[in-house]
Symmetry: C2
Subunit: 480 residues, 2 copies
């Protein structure tokens, strides 16, 4: 494969350039004409659709339903919950004209839909019989990003889902944010083979307008943490200004308790970073647009006919088992070129079939993620491949889990903290209740509290920054 086609930098040497080359050269996405916006090509969108379908079925099974919200929100509405609005203000795109005419109350492109959704919920919810109301919206959000834009990780428009629920009780709403976080974790682990750490965000890092935010985080190979999904317990912070009320069984009016939560195509960015290597993408089998690629190998026309016939037969058998298979019968390129091409695109499993293999009724299987080669009889091949794909997923997950564990380190001094941070470690450090310590650490090192996992209370240590009595021992890293 020519230099200009393959990946020209090493993951370990220029991570940022390596990432961008993978996205563009493997044809997942491309830059749109407006800076900060991307287009998803079919392979990229197909991964999103797989994720969406997996998550959607879990949400439906737990009593959520989907709806649609328009992208335009009047300015007057966005300002109704002031903390919330202030947080988004610098990022909002404003529509001021339609055709040649100016619009009175200018319109925001939704940065998120709390304000619009709850305006509607206030109309729809009348009594306890209407609750819980659990609606999810598969849409996009728009937040003007100027600097450090990056496909999937930081773009001015991104695909996501935003769930918005209303409940009669505080406990039920708090259970919802926990349950959804569990569903997110399962989806990311089962589909993308990425281990995540779940817990709470600090006061400083929570969603503006939430009582508290739960998060799942993972560590990327460059030592930065990626926030992969958040759920927000909103309490009654929105139901009061938006007057989302219900009559209870005694006909007494109460404000509802609310939650909101979302994951975005950022998950795809995480998948690329965690699993990709110097040859290109490495796709987890369950979301791979093509799971198995068959490369026929032949020298004469006679060999070609036999090999292609057998290849087609195998392809058909695999497709009967709902596997996504490509037979690469291109004439104008060599098998070696094809190997490189599909390795760059990250196809999890390659089948090589040549005349000698057919003589012995076997094929060669090559795993993308560890390059492991194995011969296997054609007899029983389908079952073998179905099992292999599951094993590949499990191996990819264990590899990532091992790295995450190995790169999580406990530190007791601020010097240690700073030096481990430079090595790209995820740092467990004790910290006091004083939020200024968190702020100072952020100022001085660029890192912040990524997640406060359950059970990380620590009253017996010294705060890493001020030496005062610690309260918790959360995880620190720089973030995306």
């Amino acid at each position: 494969m020519g230099k200009e086609i393959g990946i020209t930098v090493k993951k370990s040497e220029d991570f940022s350039e390596w990432y961008t080359q993978l996205v563009i050269k493997a044809e997942l996405a491309d830059y749109a004409p407006v800076k900060g916006l991307i287009v998803l090509r079919p392979d990229g969108y197909s991964i999103w659709e797989s994720l969406k379908s997996s998550l959607d079925s879990k949400l439906i099974a737990t009593g959520h339903r989907n709806g649609f919200l328009p992208v335009l929100i009047p300015e007057s509405l966005l300002g109704k919950e002031k903390d919330h609005f202030t947080g988004f203000n610098p990022e909002v795109f404003w529509v001021t004209h339609s055709g040649d005419g100016e619009i009175g109350d200018k319109l925001a492109l939704r940065p998120t839909s709390e304000t619009l959704a709850y305006t509607m919920y206030a109309k729809w919810i009348r009594s306890w019989r209407d609750l819980p109301l659990k609606i999810n919206f598969w849409n996009s959000a728009l937040r003007a990003e100027i600097k450090a834009t990056k496909p999937f990780l930081r773009t001015s428009e991104f695909l996501w889902q935003e769930g918005h629920t209303a409940h009669t009780g505080k406990d039920e709403a708090e259970k919802e944010v926990m349950d959804i976080l569990g569903i997110y974790k399962k989806t990311v682990e089962d589909e993308l083979a990425i281990p995540v750490i779940t817990g709470k965000k600090s006061e400083k890092e929570k969603f503006v307008g939430a009582v508290y935010t739960l998060t799942m985080e993972s560590l990327m190979p460059d030592g930065k943490a990626l926030q992969m999904g958040t759920t927000h317990f909103l309490g009654q912070n929105f139901s009061k200004p938006f007057e989302v009320k219900y009559a209870d069984k005694n006909n007494v009016e109460n404000f509802v308790w609310q939650t909101s939560w979302g994951v975005s195509w950022r998950l795809i960015g995480g998948m690329i970073m965690v699993h990709g290597d110097d040859k290109g993408l490495v796709l987890p089998p369950r979301v791979a647009p093509i799971q198995v690629v068959i490369i026929p190998i032949y020298h004469s026309d006679e060999e070609k006919n036999t090999v292609l016939e057998k290849s087609s037969m195998i392809k058909q058998e695999l497709e009967t088992c709902k596997l996504r298979v490509r037979l690469d019968d291109r004439d104008q390129v060599t098998p070696g070129f094809k190997f490189n091409d599909w390795e760059m695109k990250g196809v999890p499993l390659r089948i090589e079939i040549g005349p000698k293999d057919l003589e012995h009724d076997k094929v060669v299987l090559v795993r993308r993620h560890n390059q492991q080669k194995q011969e296997h009889p054609i007899n029983g091949l389908v079952e073998k491949i179905v099992t292999d794909l599951d094993n590949i997923h499990n191996d990819m997950f264990s590899d990532a889990q091992k790295i995450l564990t190995d790169r999580t380190i406990n530190v007791e001094t601020y010097d240690e903290f700073k030096s481990e941070l430079e090595k790209g470690m995820l740092i467990k450090a004790a910290i006091c209740e004083n939020s200024s310590c968190e702020e100072k650490i952020k100022e001085e090192t660029g890192s912040d509290i990524r997640v406060i996992p359950d059970g990380c209370e620590d009253n017996g240590s010294k705060c890493i920054y001020c030496d005062g009595q610690s309260k918790i021992r959360p995880l620190f890293a720089r973030g995306y």
Copy 2:
């Protein structure tokens, strides 16, 4: 059911108000805070998802793939194909600011994505091996609508899909617009039970920028025609200004031949109008969010237990066959109230179960679309209901087909034309080649050529307007 809950006007007396009440009261959609925008509630969105899933699988099976395009298009791009741009100019929403800052090249919210898609295609297409390129985008379009906005029919943002394909040959592209029109027709007939008439749009009514436009139209009960989907043969009208070129097998550069096509949630509007009645929605079974509702009838607590137990059992059995079933076990309302409620929401089939029915091991089935009542033994009920739902679909389609046929009339004089138009008829009339006749008819009657079906050539008649020699005998109506 109280006046304020049920539909308060008759379909035949105030069609427009009747339509709006159905949409709002059956909870398909609601008005958003910005005039001309709507929110889809779960039942409305569920119908869209059913349609989407049916159409999507047909597109995938014919070699199309999905992608994602951002909603923002720079002004400079939109103006590249001038005819196209001029058509949308008055309807475009403009983003001029992000945060507090002004944007240099102002950004349009996409009214449609030809310009953006083909800018990308010009980068992606290099050789004949990259063709055909057939990508579909499930997104929304934004066109500022000021007057006569109506849920699903005319809104400033609407959900749709837009397909964009590029081909090496003219014939292949022309086959594509025909094939897609066939897929659209099949989807609308099979899912929504609405008969459509397919053919060409006149020069005057075609998509700006297309060589020609194919359309499918249906007649609504108020005598207006609804354009339910269009496919556009773009020729090389876009590939030339956007320089979408490929190298053929002899390495000679050529411009590609292109198509674009779309259907929107307008289809849901058509479904409501064609099938709804004075009691509310009548949903075609295949897209109904709830296909079967079970209403338990009881007087004592003992009866309640027996009836509810049997009802749950039946519900489970139906769900095993992938039917969408609701058991309405609300305590606080009467069976009569429930009948009205689910009739308003258009559920195709109702099962009534009372103690006397159970004594005889039977239930009562009531069809929504014609109110037909039937008893049936519990034994074999699932098979009966599966068949019934198909029969209901077929009956609804035949009813609509009969109305369409009965209301299509051939006229030979302009007086007849005008009087039949007032009766809400779809009019077949001969017309000459002179486009000014079509324009005059539009001016004087508000009607235009809706569709020029295949085989409607007519050289032997007089033009309905100028008495000159006719060329075709197309279908006229006022349109939505």
